[in-house]
Amino acid sequence: MKIGIPRAGMYYRYGVLWEEFFKALGIEYVLSPETNKSILEHGSAIMADESCLASKVYMGHVSYLLDKCDCLFIPWLSNFGEYGINCTRFRAFPAMTANLFRDRSPQILTYAIDFSGTQDMKHAGDEETAFLSMAEALNKSKKQVREAYRTAKELSERAFADKVKEAERLADGNGKKILLVGHDYCIHDDYIGKPILRALNGYGVTVIDANLTDRKKAQNDFLKLSDGTLPWIVSRELLGGIVRYKDRVDGIVLLTGFPCGPDSIVNDVIKREIDDLPVLYLLLDGQDGMAGVETRIESFIDVLSFWNAEVARQ
């Protein structure tokens, strides 16, 4: 059995875990390539116009993978208990895939994360139990799956901790630093966020990813910018990242794919709460041309230097 993993959505959060898990079990998998124009176009064509950019990208990857694998790997990631919930779209991906591509009868492998306890899903619960529920579908014993999960989990946590350490090092370094705030599936997508990263780097600025912060600590840190009713786990971590790095950077760039539900509210909260740093709000919708974005980045870099001079004068 060959499994297809879309390089989109939660792949950017759980990619290491998933890949190491399948590697440890010796299961063949295929990862879709970096997003390109054709993938986005396929996704846009099949999704409703007003769907968010990230979901168009996701379905583009699904469409690419459909005839290159036996089974699509689309986890059902919904409710992380006290840590918050996911945007409902991630919960909808398995059913959406089944319905959007019904004529190509996709096979879907999934696991369910749902701590709400209100679901009657069979394999709801914590991550390990959720992974174990895939044993039958993968034709492996529970023991094999458990071991593979634990190995993969350790590797993925170590990889993340290393990234956080690197981000901390960058934040403590010299030079102009910008905190990039956005969902990691936007920031690290080769077609959406990477061009912006490259443009920023072109001005010699150090870019720090706000996602790279201790996730447990972020659950407390975010309360400095919002009250506890903020539901989304990723938004909580991003606000936590802002609290963590805010005093060590020169400016903040908010990167959002149109029309992201959580960001439509959270970005406004950020803009209202951060009054001591310049904030650039970039809203992307899969445009082809980079000229407009480049102009805005260039002027933002200019603002940063004025701002520094202004602060120095005070």
Partner: protein, 367 residues
């Protein structure tokens, strides 16, 4: 200065269908505070809300914020926003709206029901105390039961109206009866029997209204996003417009059906052929109702939502599949604070014509 114990809070809530009548009753008789009615939603409400809201937030955020601003102008000093049970953006409305109002310089109490936790009854009591520090719990519970009865009565009466209003012989009969019904609810005694009496009286009154119901009327189901389907201004009065064309409208989604009678596991079972993994929020109930209507031979389905409503967009591919499997036409509307009704009317008219032709063709084939 007013004595703190005697000065009553002036509490307000945004416009939301006809449910304000119930909220008002609960505040006046249960919490024993004053109620300030938000002015009916107008273009100005929308503009006020729009101007102070983030760009592409869903339109209920803008509508409710506009209502709050107008209610404050009308003298409200305490605002209540919902957000308890759902898992979509609504949960975070209150937090930002509170910030927006305080950034605008208003000094008001903002009671955010998103702070309630279903598993912790204490959170509800602390919210009640924010409305009235010395409210009587027995009174609140007693009024709560009366209001629940009112909710049931209101939703049932509205359903009767939706089904028949398009075929009334004298224009406005149903609306007048409905207006009288709302008024009686407002002045009802605080017990379930009085509410039942009012409901039964209205039921009789409505049954006596002369209608010209064809043998096989065009039956249309309305589904969609919670706020937009229930609030007439948000939905551009689509139910009334449909009635004018002589459509028999059925809408399952109302507060009593979703909060009191709804069983998610049951609905999930019904839609298992389409949705193996629940998509959350209102998708399961909407897809379930759409499927039910398709099986019952409805002539069409209309799906309403605010622009960018994530869960309802997710439901669209499933609805399309149901539409093609059962040969039921479906019309999607997405609203975002536009003023003009013309576009909506044109699409509705075309939808109606198409259904009428389809129905006639099918009849001819049968013969």
């Amino acid at each position: 200065m007013k004595n703190k114990d005697t000065a009553k809070k002036k509490i307000s809530f945004s416009q939301f269908g006809h449910y304000n009548v119930l909220f008002e009753y609960f505040i006046r008789h249960g919490v024993e505070q004053d109620y300030v009615a938000p002015p009916a939603i107008t273009k100005r409400t929308m503009e006020l809300g729009n101007r102070n809201s983030p760009d592409f937030v869903c339109s209920p955020f803008k509508f409710t914020l506009g209502c709050f601003l107008e209610a404050i102008e009308a003298g409200a000093d305490t605002i209540v926003q919902v957000g308890g049970v759902v898992a979509c953006r609504l949960k975070y409305y209150g937090s930002l709206q509170k910030k927006i109002l305080s950034d605008l310089g208003y000094d008001i109490n903002f009671v955010n029901l998103a702070n309630a936790d279903r598993n912790n009854p204490k959170t509800f009591i602390s919210l009640l105390k924010q409305l009235n520090p010395c409210c009587s719990l027995p009174k609140v519970l007693h009024t709560g039961i009366t209001v629940l009865a009112m909710l049931e009565a209101l939703d049932r009466t509205q359903a009767t109206l939706n089904k028949n209003v398009g075929f009334e012989l004298n224009d406005g009969d149903y609306d007048r009866a409905f207006g009288r019904f709302l008024n009686s609810l407002r002045n009802s005694k605080n017990n379930v029997f009085s509410v039942m009496r009012i409901y039964n009286r209205t039921k009789k009154e409505m049954a006596a209204i002369p209608v010209d119901m064809p043998e096989d009327p065009i039956r249309i189901a309305i589904i969609g996003e919670y706020y937009t389907v229930m609030d007439d201004y948000s939905s551009h009065n689509i139910e009334k417009k449909m009635a004018k064309y002589g459509m028999c409208v059925e809408r399952w989604m109302n507060v009593s059906n979703t909060l009191v009678h709804y069983s998610a596991p049951k609905r999930r079972k019904v839609i298992r052929d389409y949705v193996k993994y629940d998509m959350g929020v209102t998708t399961t109930s909407n897809i379930g109702f759409a499927l039910d209507c398709a099986k019952r031979g409805f002539d069409g389905i209309i799906h309403l939502k605010s622009f960018g409503c994530t869960p309802e967009i997710d439901a669209m591919p499933v609805l399309r599949n149901i539409s093609s499997d059962y040969n039921v036409p479906i019309l999607f509307f997405s609203f975002d604070c536009q003023n003009a009704d013309t576009g909506i009317e044109t699409r509705l008219e075309a939808f109606y014509d198409m259904i009428k032709m389809k129905k006639e063709n099918e009849k001819r084939k049968k013969k």
